[in-house]
Amino acid sequence: MTAKIRTDRDLEVYANGHAPRHLVTLSPPHLVTLSLLIMFGIAQANAAEATDGERLFTLRVLPLLKTKCFGCHGDDPADIRGDYNLLTREGMLKGGESGEPSVVPGKPEESPLYQAVLWEGYEMPPKENDRLTNAETEFIRKWIAAGSPWPDHAVQLQIKRQQWSVRENEDGVIVDTSGGLADEWTYRRYRPADLWAFRPVQPLDVGSRKVANQHSLDYFIRRKLSEATFEPAPQADPRTLIRRATFDLIGLPPVPQEVDAFLAAWKQNPRQAWNDLIDRLLESPHYGERWAQHWLDVARYADTGGYSNDYERSNMWRYRDYVIRAFNQDKPYDQFIIEQLAGDEIVKRQKEEGGISEFPPSTFNLPSSELLIATGFLRLGPWDPAMVKNPEARQIYIDDVVNSVGQTFLSTTMRCFKCHDHKFDPLPTRDYYRMYAAFAGTQLAERPAPFLPVENREGFEEGRSHVERLLEFAKAEKQKLLNKQEAAARQWYREHDLSYVPPEERKDVPDEMKPPRHVGLNHIEQGQLKVREQDEWIWTRRLERYEPMVQSVYNGPDPKWLNARKLRMPKKVDQNVELVSYILTGGSLEAPGEEVRPGVLSALGLPVNSGADDPYVIGGELNGRRLALAQWIADPENPLTTRSIVNRIWQYHFGKPIAGNPNNFGVKGARPTHPELLDWLAADFVFHGWKIKRLHKLIMTSDTYMQASAHPDLESLRTSDPNNDLLAYFPTRRLTAEELRDAMLRVTGELNPTVGGLPIMPEINMEVALQPRMIQFSLAPAYQPSRTPEQRNRRSIYAYRVRGQANPFMEVFNQPNPNESCEMRDDASVSPQAFTLMNSELMNDRAIAFAVRLQKEEGGRRKAESERVGVLVRRAFELAFQREPSQAEQQRLTDYVQRMQQYHHSMEPQPETYPTRITRSLVEEFSGKPFKYEEILPVFENYIRDKKASDVDAQTRALADLCLMLFNTNEFMYVY
């Protein structure tokens, strides 16, 4: 009811030519509105002639028809659905195939069009997404009631121009941009509240508002809480707090000594203890490992390129370590942005100019390797030009990188305005192609970059000789087949009385003058040959891991030939290339529209080049486009960038962001729950030098962060704030896949804390490791885990990420698919997780390792069995949960372990074996028949396996049952 009243008032305001609230005030003179204002003078004089109904039609009804109806009922004359053409008043009066008029002027209730948009009888438009709002159906009703007038174009234009001259009215505000493809878009209106992300950051002066000694963040949270008449939850107990903080900052559980020390310090001085704890964790090298993972989720890290070939990006690990270093060094975020987007351009300038004044020396003086490694960001998307024509392959790359840059740094989903002006946000497609043009000369290449002293090069030799072994095997097997083929070829020549022609010279010889393809090889051998040829280049490429190379980019013309197997920078890059970019209409290469220059998002009103005629355009030179874009993104005044990063940091601390869609701040993203807090954080972050560690500490020292996860008034909170948007209590979260594995390794004492280096290969289910996996022409080689437990038991961030082969453990615990930027992890509980946690080898191995650790530490000192088991149970609880068991737990589980000892005495687990060769089977493409071949698995020749059930006695197995159970509990799985 209320909605309707408001609608009516809207209509009146509209129809009566309303008094404008604000007239256009043109600030920067370049804006598109300027030229039109001059015309408005003329337009306004005549507009008075238009009737209310005509105005309603022009400003309300026609735009609705255009966006919601014409697509099926008019735009394509060859395909008019239901023979119902809405392009003209005549068509509308005539109606569709039913023959009944769709509009009866003056009588909305008798007009089928009106009934259809109400979804009564007909349901039009048919998509839920497009369905008209109440206000919109009211426009239709009123317009029909007014006699459904349909003014001609001249009158329409007058009416529109008059309306465009008003910057802000009841309908919203016009946003100045570089301009849409049509005036309707350029002058459309936005509700001011929807523009929050594009507006400058406006921090409140908290100091003058908050109560004395109140933490600034708590001011914002408390204010909303008290408006909703809720109290915040009490402070969490210190044991919960140290677990929360430790997982949060380093992704690992605290060890019992750390807990004891913290509890003791807390007793003395809680505030001091808490501050010291945060400082200690921020100084840990594991901090970077934990927070780099968040970044890699958004940036889509993987060690391979995806799609059919899934080529390895052999040096990608250097970028992963760069991100870890950046977090550990607390690299200012603005610098982090610039290095990743334009590190190569800085290197080029270093070489050519020896200095760039506008950069802090910390960036400019970085070794060129570090800067090139940073540009690995631009190489993270899945991409493979195989079977794609060159221009399209380039387009796929640039579209991907533009979208990634938008989502990652600007929280803007760029894809939404690639084919047309943005449907909801003030983002014209012109701006999409301006940003696209900033990458028009960006070419992909593996570039030389000497290793830095800080990079971990452990395991290079062992790795290289392992790969060489596999390469030699592939080469030798291939040669055997080629020898056989050539012997048959010689035989064929002899039999046909022709003189022998070597294979490389046979290409242009007619079919009947040369032996058939694959002569002498049956379908099995043909298939084998293909496998060996493929393996040869896979292993050749893998050897590049150990070379001082990096996945990077350079600026230049498009290469004539693209193959993701090998992308190298030419010795001489043509620097005189002229790059011309266009708006690609509908996103199609075949439909280039207006030419565009490289540039940035104009809606922010933040110039990239304030001196230029168009301040949102970057110079047209080949080099420096990305640097200019990066500097614009990293501009302290860029509200998207600064809000984006503080929103993400907040999200990872609380498990929920302030603005609900960290990759999309547009109208369709969730609005911030605490917009003023977001702005205050963004301003504070920039003011203090873009330092992320400082931001962590700021957040973590608030009362809001230190709250308990339970709340005394839970029942009413659940009703009034089901999503805990008020943060009345601390949100609980499940461990991520990586945390889960890493936490277990720490509890069992197996974790190797080495930082950085080559990708490691954890054990995965053997059936998956050996399972055949199709790539372009054949099967990918088997997955071979790292040889020793020390090599395997590194943190999960170092695990090799193959786009075409997910690690089953990680996947089941919602490690995101690296093809899409992940703004937030899913943590649904599904049954396959239970299978993995109870039954998998990985879990059972951890349980045995845990049991062995417990027994070793106990040292067999206690004689009485029940006493010893009791001690072990207690210690297991301390290590896994950082607490002692309750009496009930102690009793029950001691009893359980003893029962299990009985059980295991009667069992004899079989030892595992590891194959050093496997036979593979595959359907051969040419014959459609299966064939087999052998593959070697050299890693298992000298393999040091984890302790298995068959390696330990019944006592240990029984204790391992308990250990496995603790890893399966909710207490272990969740952080409070």
Binding site: K127, E128, N129, Y307, M387, K389, R506, D511, K514, R517, N661, V667, K668, G669, S709, A710, H711, T732, N765, E767, P772, M774, G804, Q805, A806, N814, N817, N819, E820, D826, D827, A828, S829, V830, P832, A834, F835, M838, N839, A888, E889, Y896, M900, Y903, M907, Q910, V923, E925, F926, S927, G928, K929, A949, D961, M965, N968, T969, N970, E971, M973
Partner: protein, 467 residues
């Protein structure tokens, strides 16, 4: 603080209690330590309109079968055989020549659907009368994984939810002790791997579960050999004890109960899954009918029979991948052997579904990711008798589930392009959802600022396919 399970169950607050109770009463088997919570995301849901089909079995021929070598004869190509082709579509460059099909064709059944002579069992009128051959579908991508992603997820980029995920999201599934979306592959995964059955941005409950062809059907389904079921029951009881203690201390945390329930479901699935894949209970005659007794047909036959059993048990969407159709060369050998391996099992599946009265409710789809070109280029300087990838024309079979038997659509006289009843893949998806009682425009999920749908931006129904 020792909460009993019952107290725990009913102590969840009034808003949840009634839902929990109703789903509790629905469950087939309620083990003692079951914690039912808000209805499972996979609980059966009412369709949006009267459905024609309840379940789907999708037979995916990876690599792209040649339409002109299976169901869409092109006599003109035989005439042009080995003559130069000047066509410029497609990726092959250099000298190209036309390739006639190595197979003869004939019309079969009441609808006169055309098949090459390699289809022996499918040509049985009892089967052929059920089949609809759709020739109007067009793909977009010329490379396998992108085209596979497109057919399976509606987007060629990979990463969006699979069709089976959308269907489970829309309808739930009948049997809560089995996954709602089951995928069977050969030993080798198809290109693009599990992205083809990923839940994408839908919750993880909707992802396809792969039944592995050898070894454990689901990874880690069974405990290690030295742990008995009784051992596991004790383990779960002690685990429930610890979890209950913990839940009592954390009443604010609802996810705990869902996670506890997932263990009980896992425990039930451990018996249910091996039961459904154990084919020993099927008659000798059934084994023979599906070709389980012959090496060429055994693998696919086994999967087809399993598909029928899964659907019978209430699994909503079953997908089988069968590779080897990518015949760039030696087309005759390749397609002969591929057809042989699927012909008998497919025919058996359709007959079997029909005889059991299940075909009316079950939509069977046979398709690849694209079709093939009428021409080819030389390989190693030799006229290689095969075909390239073709996104402009392809062929597929549909049966049951409200589909109208007969031929729908047409390709041009050399099979280069679809020319009649031409529809992009999204329209096929819209139609498939429609048959299941779902409206693509309404089956949406809010993600990244937009209501996403299987067809991406909407599509059209293909009325010609519907009976």
């Amino acid at each position: 603080m020792n909460y009993s399970r019952r107290e725990f169950l009913y102590g969840l607050g009034s808003s949840l209690g009634s839902v929990a109770l109703s789903s509790l009463l629905q469950a087939d088997e309620v083990p003692p330590s079951s914690f039912r919570l808000p209805p499972s995301p996979l609980a059966p849901k009412r369709p949006m309109h009267t459905p024609r089909a309840k379940n789907v079995i999708m037979l995916f021929m990876e690599g792209g079968p040649g339409h002109m070598d299976t169901f869409d004869p092109k006599p003109e190509l035989a005439r042009l055989h080995k003559t130069e082709s000047k066509r410029t579509r497609g990726l092959e460059t250099g000298f190209k020549f036309f390739v006639g099909s190595p197979f003869k064709f004939r019309k079969v059944g009441e609808t006169g659907i055309e098949m090459c002579d390699q289809w022996k069992y499918l040509a049985d009128p009892e089967v052929a009368n059920q089949l609809c051959n759709f020739r109007g579908c067009t793909a977009e991508s010329l490379n396998h994984p992108e085209a596979l992603f497109h057919m399976n997820t509606g987007s060629r980029l990979g990463g969006d939810p699979a069709v089976g995920s959308w269907v489970n999201y829309g309808l739930g599934t009948e049997n809560q002790n089995l996954p709602g979306y089951v995928v069977m592959t050969e030993l080798a995964l198809p290109q693009g791997g599990s992205t083809n059955w990923s839940n994408g941005f839908l919750p993880a409950h909707y992802q396809g579960t792969r039944l592995r062809p050898v070894g454990s059907p689901i990874l880690d389904l069974a405990p290690p050999a030295h742990k008995s079921r009784e051992h596991q029951r004790q383990f779960l009881d002690e685990l429930a004890f610890l979890n209950e203690q913990h839940a009592a201390a954390h009443p604010e945390h609802r996810e705990l109960a869902a996670r506890m329930e997932s263990y009980e479901l896992a425990y039930r699935m451990q018996t249910e899954v091996p039961g459904v894949i154990d084919l020993d209970g099927e008659t000798r005659q059934t084994h023979e009918m599906y070709g389980l007794d012959a090496p060429d047909t055994a693998a696919f036959g086994r999967q087809c029979l399993m598909a029928r059993r899964l659907v019978e048990k209430g699994v909503r969407f079953v997908q089988i991948f069968s590779g080897g159709w990518d015949s760039h060369d030696y087309l005759e050998r390749g397609h002969t052997s591929r057809i042989k391996s699927v012909d008998k099992p497919m025919a058996a599946l359709i007959k079997d579904l029909k005889n059991r009265g299940m075909l009316d409710d079950t939509l069977v789809i046979w398709t690849g990711e694209f079709g093939r070109t009428p021409d080819n280029n030389k390989r190693g300087g030799v006229y290689s008798l095969g075909r390239g990838h073709n996104a402009d024309a392809m062929t597929m079979l549909l049966a049951g589930g409200g589909v109208k038997p007969g031929v729908v659509g047409a390709t041009d006289e050399i099979g280069a392009e679809a020319v009649e009843c031409v529809h992009p893949i999204r329209d096929l998806h819209v139609t498939l959802l429609h048959l299941l009682g779902l409206n693509d425009n309404k089956l949406t999920y809010f993600h990244a600022g937009r209501f996403k749908q299987l067809s991406q931006f909407g599509g059209e129904l293909i009325p010609d396919l519907i009976a």
